[in-house]
């Protein structure tokens, strides 16, 4: 599959959507030439964020883009939801913090597993998390 020239947009509402996202990401990262470890890190980070989108964000979508920076090639994922938003991002990033039944590793974990991590959230409007993994 050639590198997507525009972002691939996938809906995230059910566990089946997460499965579909993982399979798509596996394909994209293999085609991008990522090592197995880097593939696994990106897919795991994506799995965490996708679950957050569904469990807390009330469903949303993920945009998958192939990116370039000079000689570097990478994959950028943007998770968007129009859910309740995160009131305190710093607390949410702390390991062990969970407002649900999780382990509280999702956001912090996704950040650690990625080369770049950006998050924006507005209470009552939604959340946008973007991660990038470079080859």
């Amino acid at each position: 599959m050639p590198a997507p020239t525009q972002a691939l947009k996938l809906v995230l509402r059910t566990s089946d959507d997460v499965v579909r996202m993982r399979q798509t990401l596996r394909q994209v990262t293999v085609d991008r030439g990522f090592s197995l470890v880097d593939q696994t890190k990106l897919i795991t980070a994506a799995s965490e964020l996708a679950r957050n989108t569904i469990d807390y964000g009330r469903g949303g979508e993920v945009h998958i883009e192939a990116v370039e920076q000079g000689m570097r090639r990478g994959v950028r994922l943007t998770f968007i939801d129009q859910g309740p938003g995160i009131p305190d991002i710093e607390t949410a990033l702390r390991d062990g913090f969970t407002s649900g039944k999780g382990l509280g590793l999702g956001l912090g974990g996704a950040k650690r597993l990625s080369n770049e991590f950006h998050i924006e959230s507005t209470v009552g409007h939604g959340t946008r998390v973007q991660i990038t993994r470079w080859k």
């Binding site: 059910t14 566990s15 089946d16 499965v19 993982r22 596996r26 197995l36 470890v37 593939q39 696994t40 890190k41 897919i43 795991t44 799995s47 965490e48 679950r51 390991d95 039944k101 999780g102 382990l103 590793l105 999702g106 912090g108 974990g109 650690r112 597993l113």
Partner: protein
């Protein structure tokens, strides 16, 4: 209703996890395992994750829950077949799976359980 098969191997149970487990399947597995541990007076549970090319905190929580329930029922848990890329990622993710031992294969996992079951 679909179920993950639980194999009885002597005094132990073997469960093979595939990654595409949705929430209901996880709940069913945890229930089935608890019942099996009690019914067969099992001393150990082997969780085979050799087919998982990814373990996230959702799966990690399931393993931790299974291990916790088994411990309450006086059974040990060993996770077998963790792929190297998964191991590296788990460390970076910060998922420690405390109280859960690992082994490279089902055979080695059973040997570990035999030792601790006495």
């Amino acid at each position: 209703m679909e179920r993950i098969p639980i194999l009885k191997m002597g005094r132990f149970l073997l469960v093979t996890i595939q990654v595409d487990m949705h929430d209901q399947l996880v709940m069913t597995l945890q229930d089935d395992l608890t019942q099996s541990i009690v019914k067969h007076r099992v001393r150990g549970v082997l969780i085979d994750i050799s087919s998982l090319d990814m373990v996230d905190s959702f799966i990690g929580r399931m393993i931790a829950n299974i291990s916790g329930m088994a411990r309450v029922l006086d059974a040990a848990t060993v996770v077998v077949g963790m792929q190297p890329a998964v191991a590296i990622t788990l460390v970076e993710l910060g998922l420690t799976l405390e109280g859960v031992r690992t082994a490279l294969s089902v055979e080695k996992g059973m040997a570990l359980l035999e030792q601790s079951a006495g």
